[in-house]
């Protein structure tokens, strides 16, 4: 295997409604990540982005966004219509070929332009589910009730996840929701989609982030010149549960469990885990699936409950974990990204200092 490390990560603060188009959203973070790695766009071996044209309702907006990297010289470039974390995976695979030694990964999402919970219904089965237009919050509520009915969690457990996440985000200037009432007050609120309350749901966020990967000696050189530890990718894996919601046990995430095992999460103790759990009950499901005990700090950044730019929040988990390796706050960290309804798809990446 070719050793790959994250050597730079840049993000912009998530906001409810960003000013400007997608190029304007993502260009500053690409610039910042490249400068931070001391690279010019012309030196990049590979570029991969994650975004979704459904969000702004315009086909090939990801091609337009390439303007943010620069139209000249030509790039070796790819795109996934998914969260940027899956573009990160593609870049890692590309670097395994060994013929190039750097890659840029970026993600952007303007979630604010349409009715996001309804837009997300169009990712579902096009014949048996999407024509009913079930909103994303309702689907998460079905999963939450299954947890309650199964005696696996309480509404208080959900509120504790929400409260802890948003209070953790007080220290994260890029987060959008950075405070929380206490659990008792949260539980006094009415339900949005029973049993979910507003605090159990993520904010609607516009955002962007960018990351630079490098291999072996190149990674060591870039990182040491900046006084940081390379965040080596010890393992990465992506698994998918069946698309039919009603054929799954929604209270479990077997694909997350498998991805964590295949990424080598349990080979050594973890200092922290950045989990992409947009709805509070999903963090409980993921922690159990991945066997993350109380010794693992969960979402010190605040996670997706504090800022959830679509197509960005998963890559941000990888970036937040990497930043903590860079400055020595963590020696070994797990990052997770999800896609699809009710944790259908799960990507797990293990980062470590060496």
């Amino acid at each position: 295997m070719v050793d790959v490390a994250i050597v730079a990560f840049a993000q912009r603060p998530s906001v409810r409604n960003a000013v400007g188009d997608e190029v304007e959203l993502v260009q500053p973070v690409i610039q910042q990540a490249l400068e931070d790695a001391g690279l010019r766009a012309s030196e990049l071996g590979f570029v991969c982005s994650g975004s979704c044209d459904y969000l702004i309702g315009r086909p090939f907006s990801f091609v337009t966004a390439l303007d943010a990297v620069g139209a000249w010289p030509p790039l070796c470039e790819s795109h996934v219509e998914m969260d940027g974390a899956f573009a990160f995976y593609e870049a890692w695979v590309r670097l395994q070929h060994g013929d190039v030694d750097t890659a840029l990964v970026y993600a952007f999402g303007r979630s604010s332009l349409g009715s996001l919970p309804i837009i997300l219904s169009q990712q579902l089965d096009p014949y048996t589910v999407a024509p009913l237009f079930p909103d994303a919050i309702s689907l998460a509520a079905l999963q939450a009730r299954a947890l309650l009915d199964g005696g696996r969690a309480t509404e208080r457990d959900f509120a504790e996840v929400a409260c802890r996440s948003r209070r953790a985000a007080e220290g994260n200037p890029n987060a959008q929701l950075r405070q929380s009432a206490d659990v008792e007050a949260l539980l006094g609120a009415a339900c949005l989609r029973p049993p979910l309350r507003v605090h159990d749901c993520p904010p609607i966020s516009d955002g962007a982030c960018a990351m630079v990967l490098a291999t072996g000696e190149r990674a060591r050189a870039i990182a040491s010149a900046r006084g940081r530890a390379p965040a080596w990718v010890a393992g990465v894996d992506h698994r998918i549960d069946p698309q039919d919601l009603g054929s799954r046990d929604l209270t479990r995430a077997p694909s997350a469990k498998l991805a964590a095992e295949r990424a080598g999460a349990h080979r050594a103790p973890l200092d922290l885990a950045e989990l992409h759990a947009p709805f509070s009950p999903q963090e409980l499901i993921l922690r159990e699936a991945m066997g993350l005990g109380p010794q693992v700090a969960i979402n010190p950044s605040g996670g997706a409950l504090a800022a959830n730019p679509m197509m960005v929040a998963g890559l941000t988990r990888v970036g937040e974990a990497a930043l903590r390796i860079h400055d020595g706050r963590a020696g070994r960290a797990l990052a997770h990204a999800t896609s699809g309804p009710c944790l259908q798809q799960n990507l797990v990446c293990v980062l470590e200092a060496r």
């Binding site: 014949y127 048996t128 079930p134 909103d135 309702s138 989609r193 029973p194 039919d244 919601l245 054929s247």
Partner: protein, 152 residues
């Protein structure tokens, strides 16, 4: 400059449309034909599981399903939520419940709307029955929604 008269200008009708039709395939095609007739078909896998809505392949093994069999039009709610203010795109214009519903004879549950009137009438384990559209089109929306079945 000579102006061509109308007879010289080539003309063709232009309508913005898909110039192809698309089949729903050998499994969903029968499923939707069944809905048009007020029946629900499920797919039986090699392991004997009955999938509703049907799939062409067993999600666990990847093997083709063995047969389509009829299941009930009534079933049991396995989980649910409630929408107070439906979006324009929702199946019902008044407050309703979303539920996963396991039809009698099926091993998996299908997503649909339940016209229960109020969340107090919703419960996991409740019985519901499909309400079929008066003018079916061969789509999942041929089931308008599910109605609660009152315990007798």
């Amino acid at each position: 400059m000579a102006t061509p008269d109308d007879s010289e200008v080539l003309k063709a009708p232009y309508a913005l449309q898909y110039t192809y039709t698309r089949s729903t395939g050998p499994v969903l095609g029968h499923f939707f034909a069944g809905l048009m007739a007020g029946r629900v078909l499920g797919a039986r896998t090699a392991t004997g599981r009955v999938l509703v809505p049907p799939a062409e392949y067993d999600p666990d093994t990847g093997e083709a399903v063995e047969a389509l069999i009829e299941v009930g039009t009534a079933g049991t709610v396995t989980t649910w939520t409630w929408v107070d203010a439906p979006a324009e795109s929702a199946p019902l214009s008044r407050a309703f419940g979303w539920a996963l519903i396991r039809l009698d004879g099926a091993d998996t549950a299908m997503l649909h709307a339940v016209d229960a009137g109020s969340p107090e009438r919703m419960a996991t384990g409740m019985r519901v029955r499909a309400r079929f559209a008066a003018e079916p089109r061969g789509a999942i929306t041929d089931i308008v929604c599910f109605d609660p079945v009152e315990a007798s």
